[in-house]
């Protein structure tokens, strides 16, 4: 079933790319979105079923696929706005949609991959299409970021491949030759710990480029800076989820062995360093999109910490991942709107937004509260759970250190967002030509609202999915 989805998606993408007809592009995109939602729903119904041999609709996959489906709707809408404003040619637009459809397909493939190798191939494929999309505006900076992303991701993915090879070495000595996740977990307890450690370390390092986690986080940051905002929204959310999933899959194998504790320590280190790097960089930030990018680094650090602590930490990590996806995507969409007025993402160029577009400003305030995990944001719940887990497992020092860093982050973040919103607008910025369109902010309100709703009153199927996803760890 799933392979059918992949084939149809590729067909759609290719037809968009080669026909280059505006109307056809839109129709096909709509068809694809329907299909995407359809496959997510299908997966939810057929949960835990193997599909097309290499895929399995597992709980975490379904959860992230839902996130992707929702964000795809919003991203297509904002891509439409973005393309409309920049007067790209038909060819460029077709290339954009074709690439984004391929990217979504690759990400879906990664979510549902049951086989480590298929997962790896999917992740590799995302690199290619993300690079094309980063380079979409054809500027020097875009080229630089695209190059760095492509190169470092490729090296990272190569490292992850070495990790997978190590995994297969120890798996094959236990008679498993197909790298199926199920089989690997079954024999995990008899795997050699040194190979597992190496494999985990390499996979973590390699996929950290995708997840935007320390140590290879820099390329993701650069990519955010120049990619079109809807794409930034993707890189920062669903693509990071892909990277997370790559690490998580190997982590589930590791979790079955005595290496777990070691791996968790590694995750803790990566998490703390990520938050630390983010806090340091945010203090001297000069660019809004970079600011959000470093905020992603911080949140991924918290997710890693959640995994590294265990217990309720697992639950908190996945919850955090989902909430972060919604909030960060919303913020990127909104900053895309902000760009419309100021023609710049630099902090020094853009201020007084609230006066210009009160609805958009409201959306920003909401997003700002949400991303900083201030109640009633759902992220407060997940962060709270993470810290609770830390205290429960007696990781006091880490908790306090992270809290200090978070304070720093909140300080620098608020300073810049308040500057953007409320600083006295320059006389020179003539805003009357562009009428603010409040409807463009609807999707953001929906996303932020969703996070608040899910945080305060999570529906049963939602918590069940998360519980089922982490069941294997406990």
């Amino acid at each position: 079933m799933f392979i059918l989805f992949v084939i149809i998606s590729i067909t759609i993408s290719l037809s968009i790319f080669f026909v280059r007809n505006n109307i056809l592009t839109k129709i096909l995109s709509a068809v694809f979105l329907l299909m995407l939602t359809g496959i997510s729903g299908y997966a939810f119904i057929h949960i835990n079923e193997i599909s097309s041999h290499y895929y399995k609709f597992d709980d975490l996959g379904v959860l992230l696929a839902f996130v992707l489906s929702i964000l795809s709707l919003a991203t297509f809408y904002h891509s439409y706005l973005y393309l409309k404003r920049h007067n790209f040619t038909n060819k460029q637009e077709a290339g954009y949609y074709a690439s984004i459809i391929m990217l979504i397909t690759a990400m879906m493939s990664a979510y549902f991959a049951e086989n480590i190798a298929v997962l790896w191939i999917s992740i590799e494929t995302t690199t290619l299409f993300v690079s094309i999309l980063i380079f979409f505006e054809r500027t020097k900076e875009a080229l630089e970021a695209a190059w760095k992303y492509l190169f470092v991701s490729s090296v990272g993915v190569a490292l992850a491949f070495i990790g997978i090879l190590f995994l297969s070495i120890t798996a094959s000595s236990n008679g498993i030759t197909d790298l199926s996740l199920l089989h690997l977990i079954e024999i995990a307890s008899s795997m050699s710990s040194i190979w597992l450690k190496m494999a985990f370390l390499l996979v973590l390092t390699g996929y950290s480029a995708k997840m935007g986690l320390f140590p290879l986080h820099t390329v993701a940051i650069d990519a955010h800076t120049v990619a079109p905002p809807p794409i930034s929204a993707f890189i920062s959310t669903t693509l990071m989820n892909v990277g997370f999933l790559g690490i998580y899959r190997v982590f589930t194998i590791v979790a079955q062995t005595e290496v777990l504790h070691w791996a968790q320590n590694v995750l803790l280190i990566a998490g703390v360093l990520s938050v630390f790097m983010s806090a340091i960089q945010l203090l001297k930030i000069k660019h809004y999109k970079r600011m959000f990018a470093f905020s992603s680094l911080e949140h991924m650090g918290i997710v890693a910490l959640g995994l590294g602590i265990g217990g309720i930490g697992y639950y908190a990590a996945i919850l955090h991942l989902v909430f972060h996806s919604f909030v960060k995507a919303g913020l990127f969409y909104q900053i895309g709107q902000v760009h419309r007025y100021f023609k710049s993402y630099w902090i020094k160029d853009a201020y007084g937004y609230f006066k210009i577009n009160p609805v958009g400003g409201l959306a920003l305030i909401l997003g700002f509260i949400s991303i900083l995990a201030i109640p009633p944001s759902g992220m407060f719940v997940s962060e709270f759970l993470t810290f609770k887990a830390m205290f429960l497992t007696k990781h006091y020092y880490i908790a306090i250190f992270i809290l200090i860093l978070l304070t720093l982050i909140i300080y620098s973040f608020s300073k810049n967002i308040l500057h953007l919103l409320f600083n006295e607008a320059d006389e020179e910025i003539e805003i009357n030509e562009i009428k603010p369109n409040p409807y463009e902010s609807i999707s953001q309100f929906v996303l932020f609202g969703l996070v608040i709703y899910l945080g305060i009153n999570p529906p049963v199927f939602f918590t069940d999915l998360i519980d089922a996803a982490i069941a294997i760890l406990n």
Binding site: I121, L128, E144, S172
Partner: protein, 209 residues
């Protein structure tokens, strides 16, 4: 016979450390491809014919002909400097490569695993280490791609170590990697060369905090 090729492969790594000429990099990559072919030819004949042929084509056609040819095209297209000086003197690089060779040989001999062929592990590990080192010491994105390909070759050897048990998956992955690496990276180098008029990494420093 396999040992012969493994030793030759180790020698190519030393020459990689020694050379600074872009043409020589390309030549050495082609030679490494041929050596990989030799290794596959003499050691993997127990596996299925289809896989065997696939790996042969991959090494001889892709690694030793298409990739060098393509890189050479990229080199000409961008009017690359004849020499890419590394930021660390070659003298130390040679010492580094020797140490990594020694380390990986000793490490491999310590691996008591019957499932894997540790003889491939030796140079594979050295090659990956050296590839990463090669990327770090060069300031030119073309050389970075060369370093990436050295890592790729190391990964190929590494996958040979487990190749007899799970061949096809590994093959696919490698081929994808090479195509991705060379074609896409190559095209991007051309883009960078056209846009920045240079492929020195110093040019790529607009994105900073």
């Amino acid at each position: 016979m396999t040992y012969l090729f493994i030793i030759l492969y180790a020698v190519t790594l030393i020459y990689f450390a020694l050379s600074e000429r872009v043409k020589k990099f390309i030549w050495l990559l082609a030679i490494q491809g041929s050596i990989l072919f030799g290794i596959v030819f003499f050691s993997l004949n127990k596996i299925e014919v289809f896989d065997f042929v696939f790996i042969l084509i991959e090494t001889i056609l892709v690694k030793s002909i298409i990739v060098p040819w393509f890189l050479n095209k990229v080199r000409r297209h961008n009017h690359l400097k004849r020499e890419h000086e590394p930021s660390i003197p070659v003298f130390y690089s040679i010492i580094v490569v020797v140490i990594s060779l020694l380390l990986s040989f000793i490490l491999s001999s310590q691996l008591n695993d019957n499932q894997i062929h540790t003889k491939y592990f030796t140079v594979a590990f050295a090659s990956i280490l050296f590839g990463v080192y090669f990327i770090i010491i060069h300031k030119n994105i073309f050389s970075h791609v060369v370093g990436y390909l050295i890592i790729e070759n190391g990964i190929f050897l590494l996958s040979l170590a487990v190749g007899s048990v799970m061949p096809m998956m590994v093959n696919l992955a490698i081929l994808l990697d090479v195509l991705m690496g060379v074609l896409v990276l190559g095209i991007f180098i051309n883009q960078v060369g056209d846009t920045f008029k240079s492929v020195e990494i110093d040019q790529l420093s607009n994105l900073k905090d």
